[in-house]
């Protein structure tokens, strides 16, 4: 006994009421280094021991709220700013749909932060030992007894007086706890080979299981049942229909909203004669024209319509749109080319609305003017 260093003197109680009374008494006697161990959190213990409020809740609140706002920010930025997509007819910023995620992230980040903080700060990670562990005392207080342990480091500690105090409180099994050798000689070593190896082992097992689950197991019946459904998938064949085509063509005579039949099919001259550009050359319209021209026309015709294709000879280079021929064409004649196509050039009627086609023509006119300015433009 003499060569061992005393850690504390412990005593056990049978009921929560007794332990609370004991804690109050020990506190009143002026002891500061003591601890109470109970199988479950006994309400009222904090005030009996006069403990200050734990600071862990602040960590939970700050991290939880941060998580919540980060989740909200992330969803707002991805769904309504960076890549706005209409999903299920909902607004880009669809708050109700975000609520469950915000809630989950709040709870998740708060609980993880609390646990990590507790392990790191309260338990002083990587420390994982304590003199009370592996004692008879701990076996009792983690099952059905309520214990108090008064540390020998307490300035008021005196073996005999603590013992008689515990006796007077009615404690049972009053017994000393000594530091164990491992505890005294404990040197934290985070990179202990055993620890590192078990981490690696865990990593391999977890990733292996994940791989097998996601890449093999999910393709075995019955887990693959969801994959094969008798529903039509875009661009895929489907046995539901006789002709095997998943994507159906519209019923004959179907007309899209706002559709107007094109009167000058195969009749470019009439188009050039009778069609008039309905759009005024406002900045707004020119802006639309520029955007659409750059998207749809410039790959072949070049950004400045000089016929400098970016297709590197994979497609016949078109002629320059600055030729006298095209400059002298009416707007309607160019409109006809965009609408119907011309020889190697395909029709753009499906990609571009009527307004957009006319706006492109305004832009082409502006480009032509830029290379072949009139006298009056120079003044």
């Amino acid at each position: 006994m003499s060569d061992k260093i005393l850690y504390s003197l412990t005593g056990l109680f049978d009921t929560p009421d007794e332990i609370i009374a004991a804690a109050k008494k020990v506190q009143a006697e002026g002891y500061t280094k003591y601890d109470v161990n109970t199988p479950y959190p006994v309400h009222g213990m904090d005030s009996a021991m006069k403990l200050p409020m734990s600071r862990l809740p602040y960590v939970a609140m700050v991290v939880g709220l941060t998580g919540m706002f980060l989740a909200l920010f992330f969803m707002w930025w991805t769904n309504s700013v960076d890549y706005p997509l209409v999903i299920g007819g909902k607004p880009y910023f669809a708050l109700p749909a975000y609520v469950p995620i915000m809630f989950e992230v709040t709870v998740l980040s708060a609980s993880i932060a609390t646990v990590v903080t507790m392990i790191a700060i309260v338990f002083k990670f990587p420390n994982n030992s304590h003199p009370l562990l592996d004692t008879e005392y701990m076996k009792h207080v983690s099952v059905d007894k309520y214990g108090i342990s008064i540390s020998a480091e307490d300035p008021k500690f005196n073996y005999e007086s603590v013992k008689s105090l515990l006796e007077s409180l009615g404690a049972k099994n009053i017994s000393p706890v000594y530091f164990k050798d491992e505890v005294i000689n404990f040197k934290p070593n985070t990179f202990e080979p055993k620890f590192v190896l078990s981490l690696i082992g865990l990593f391999i097992v977890v990733s292996g299981l994940t791989y097998v689950t996601l890449n093999k197991l999910m393709y075995l019946p019955p887990f693959d049942w969801m994959m094969e459904q008798s529903k039509v998938i875009a661009q895929e064949r489907s046995d539901v229909f006789e002709d095997g085509r998943g994507m159906r063509t519209p019923v004959e005579g179907t007309v899209a909203r706002g559709f107007l039949p094109y009167k000058y099919k195969d009749n470019p001259d009439a188009a050039g004669k009778f069609l008039v550009n309905p759009l005024p050359a406002t900045e707004e319209n020119l802006q639309v024209g520029e955007t659409k021209f750059d998207i749809y026309c410039s790959p072949c015709h070049g950004y400045l319509a000089e016929g400098d294709s970016r297709l590197k000879g994979q497609f016949p280079n078109p002629p320059s749109l600055h030729s006298a021929k095209v400059r002298n064409w009416s707007d309607g004649r160019i409109y006809h080319v965009i609408t119907e196509g011309q020889n190697a050039m395909p029709s753009y009627a499906y990609q571009l609305s009527r307004e957009e086609r006319w706006a492109i023509i305004l832009y082409i006119r502006a480009l032509q003017r830029s290379l072949n300015a009139k006298e009056s433009d120079l003044q």
Partner: protein, 396 residues
């Protein structure tokens, strides 16, 4: 420390006289207003009658639920107060009577009772085998009968135990409770569907029964909490009603406030997501005109205020806060029932008037009068219950 009072020396005390007087006063004032309203605005009065029925049913069947929950879970902390729930549950006995005004005005309340409408309406005629007056009547009678029957059986055993101290009675009640739970789940679901959901007969929400249930158990718990705290402050229970008991009430209230919000939000989210016209109509109606403010109010009154009011640990133990919050929650439940019922009566704008107020006062009076009547006859503490002593010495 464990100076447990000798519970078997319980002596019965009269309830505080102002408690009784207040009950009678509210009952009389409410009754006068209710009768008056029947003559002034018959239809509005009938709609308020639905609210009255649903609110009182909440207290009654909710209290029965808490009794049953105690038996099934083997809880001890609530045993000393179980009688409060048993007395409140007695309001189940008057449900048939207060259902009458609404029942006789069904034609004004329930669209689906109009046979000529049902004939031309595809949905209503498809629902007709369920939604018709005679089946509706049978169901209402059966549900109330189930509740009254189990209420009677369980409280009779509990009362008998006061004199016989027979522990087997507890075991019997546990069995009865186990039988009651599935019946309870079904009956309260269909009761809510019949009396509240069918106000809007085209609309449906599969979670609706749970929604009403969440409000029901919360309201009953609030009523129990209020009475327990008030009476134990006056020393009606036993010396040591401790913070541990209060804390349990507070924590349960807090939990069920969140449960209600969870269910209410789930119902909204699913309907909002699916965006089907026949489902969204119900919420759109509650977003029209004044109803919008009413709906925002529901979120604040039924969730935000009680949530923050009960969030902190000390507030769950403070008698003052508990009394305030439980009255608040009772009001919130009435508000909730009003929010469900009244848009059918007035579609665009609605301002609660003296008729609704009268019915609310009547509901309070009715519940208190019945409580006082039971408390006058029976012991406020189940002195024969084997769990009583452990309940009194309960420690968290």
């Amino acid at each position: 420390m464990s100076d447990s009072p000798d519970v078997f020396n319980y002596t019965k005390k009269e309830l505080p006289s102002n408690f009784i007087k207040f009950g009678y006063a509210a009952f009389v004032v409410g009754l006068v207003l209710v009768v008056l309203s029947l003559f002034v605005d018959n239809v509005r009065s009938a709609f308020s009658g639905v609210m009255l029925l649903m609110f009182v049913a909440s207290i009654g069947v909710g209290s029965l639920f808490w009794i049953v929950a105690e038996y099934l879970s083997g809880a001890v902390w609530s045993t000393p107060f179980r009688r409060v729930a048993e007395f409140l549950g007695a309001v189940l006995l008057v449900l048939p009577i207060i259902a009458l005004p609404a029942y006789f005005n069904m034609h004004d309340i329930f669209h689906w009772t109009h046979e000529e409408v049902v004939k031309t309406d595809h949905y209503l005629s498809a629902k007709a085998p369920y939604l018709n007056v005679s089946f509706f009547t049978i169901r209402t009678i059966v549900f109330i009968a189930i509740w009254v029957l189990f209420y009677f059986l369980i409280t009779r055993n509990s009362k008998l135990q006061d004199s016989t101290k027979d522990q087997n009675l507890t075991r019997k009640n546990i069995k009865l409770s186990a039988v009651f739970v599935p019946l309870f789940a079904l009956s309260i679901t269909f009761f809510a569907i019949d009396w509240l959901m069918s106000l809007e007969p085209h609309w449906f929400s599969t979670i609706f029964g749970v929604y009403y249930f969440s409000g029901t158990v919360l309201a009953a718990l609030a009523a129990i909490t209020y009475i327990v705290v008030t009476l134990s402050e006056k020393g009606y229970f036993f010396q040591g009603v401790k913070e541990d008991h209060y804390y349990s009430f507070g924590a349960l209230l807090f939990g069920f406030v969140n449960f209600w919000a969870y269910i209410a939000f789930s119902q909204f989210l699913l309907i909002w997501y699916a965006n089907l016209p026949e489902e969204t109509i119900w919420y759109l109606q509650r977003w029209e005109g004044y109803w919008m403010y009413f709906s925002i109010g529901l979120i604040i009154i039924h969730f935000v205020v009680p949530y923050f009011g009960l969030l902190a640990q000390p507030s769950k133990m403070s008698p003052k806060r508990l009394k305030f919050m439980s009255l608040w929650i009772l009001f919130a439940h009435f508000y909730d029932v009003m929010w469900i019922t009244m848009p059918t009566y007035q579609e665009f704008g609605y301002i609660p008037g003296w008729i609704e107020l009268g019915y609310a006062i009547f509901a309070i009076g009715l519940i208190l009068v019945i409580f006082n009547w039971k408390a006058g006859k029976e012991n406020l503490v189940p002195i024969g219950d084997p769990k009583l002593k452990r309940g009194i010495n309960f420690r968290l």
